[in-house]
Amino acid sequence: MSTFALVDGNSFYASCERVFRPDLTGRPIIVLSNNDGCVVARSAEAKALGIPAFLPFYQVQRLCYKHRVAVFSSNYALYGDMSRRMMNVLSRFAPVQEIYSIDECFLDVTGIPDLNSHGHRIRQTVRQGLGLPTCVGMGSSKTLAKLANHVAKKRPEWNGVFEWDWLNPREADRLLAEFTVGEVWGIGRRIAEKLTLMNIHSALDLKQADPRHIKRKFNVVVERTVAELNGVACLALEDVAPAKQQIISSRSFSRLIHDLPSLSASISHHVARAAEKLRAQGCAAGLIGVSIRTNPFRDLGQYHGYTCVPLIHPSADTLELNRAAQAALRAIWQPEFSYHKAGVVLMNIGPNTRQQHDLFSPPPDPKRARLMATIDKLNRDFGSGTIKLGAEGLTEDWQMRQDKKSPCYTTRVDQLIKLG
């Protein structure tokens, strides 16, 4: 029988900030989304104050001020680097690892003796080596490992490590009954509502449901979840994440945008970011989509413009992609609206090597591939945005608002901590 562990960082973004700020020990911390819009991460102390997640910041601003909450803009360079370090450390604890998100991964811990000490060793190593608190949940399926992680996190009596096998079947069922069905991995809100109507309220109810009935009512995915809750592993670890089939870069503006040059600069920026990701996975895109929209929450004229432009040669070249994107933008831009958000999506993504040449147009210039590699390296080494398209910088109106960003302690030499 297999055993899976799910390890995740507690309040990961907030914890990353705290590693480099000894003055924040024990203090509540929140991290805001891009543009300082919403609360996306809260430390345990901030949760205890009753600050809800995903609320616009201005709604909790007074509460934060009153309780001296440390507020940060999101610093993805820092979180990304700390995540990379944490995943590398965690990979030492199992032969197979699946990185599931920036702050969590599955480990195949099948056959490892004394999982209790193993789990605590994992926590201790990450805590000491990186200063990050984690929780470890273990079970005989990925779905059970996920739930075990909830137990490890919510129940202090387990000290951050929990495995279902430590309970007898009756105790395990009693614990499963305390989870709503919506808390089960893979059960989304809509499926949860439908299950509730079928009188399936808790994780235990779902575990005891008739799998054939579930399959008839829903699909094979939910049926598999029932099996996983019963300890039958249906999902294996995916050690290699599949290349992304779509790359999206989009963001809301810090204020409404009216003019074409500002929109055009924003689109250039998103193309540059998406193209860099595309090149990082060694792919080229055959289709680029551009989207601009007004603010649906404002009492103004509403418009959502979207169109796709195919590329003659699948390309990973920022300049080529930007040319197509700008053509798309001109096709959808309507002067009478105020825009709130713009973005691009790269589609028809395939390996960069398998390119079909067009008979009537010149083939891509190999020098351009080297230019792109150089741009990527400069931005990697000296910080993103070191070199960019002239078109990105024409106007700065659309740029992100990040008033409270912490230094990039681990990725920028000019932002290192100074030791007194």
Binding site: T25, R85, G129, V413, D414, L416, I417, L419, G420
Partner: protein
């Protein structure tokens, strides 16, 4: 702008151990024994995942000057005599750990810096152990 020093084992910062300077005549028989390059990262860092770079901004310790880069291995347990980074009064300090004869404190090597004693419950907030100092001369 400073030059970043990436802390990865795959860094391109490599110095050849042996190489014949002139490509003429017979190749040096020593070339057969060139096995690898010296990699400054592997020379200076044991555990790249848990090693961080910070900047010295005091002259409290002999051998470390203001402006030096210090490499801190956070995974190590500090022993008596180690140079450590510790949290003190809401910021980080660079000191030597004194852990002997029932005394636990952070000390400077030179006079003029007060001793930082362990808190009430005999603890210090040690962040990591300094394992190397990097200084450019030119």
């Amino acid at each position: 702008m400073h030059h970043p020093i990436p802390l990865s084992r795959t860094s391109s910062l490599r110095i050849p151990l042996v190489a014949s300077p002139v490509r003429a005549g017979f190749p040096s028989p020593a070339d057969d024994y060139v096995q690898d390059h010296v990699n400054l990262n592997t020379l200076l860092v044991d555990d790249p995942d848990c090693t961080f770079l910070m900047l010295a901004n005091s002259d409290a310790l002999r051998g470390i000057l203001t402006g030096d880069y210090v490499l801190i291995d956070k995974s190590r347990t500090a022993a008596h005599g180690d140079v450590v980074v510790a949290a003190h009064e809401n910021s980080f300090v660079l000191r030597r750990l004194h852990k002997q004869q029932g005394m636990l404190a952070l000390m400077a090597d030179v006079p003029g810096y007060p001793i930082i004693p362990a808190e009430g419950d005999y603890t210090l907030e040690i962040w990591g152990v300094v394992i190397a100092v990097v200084r450019r001369l030119v």
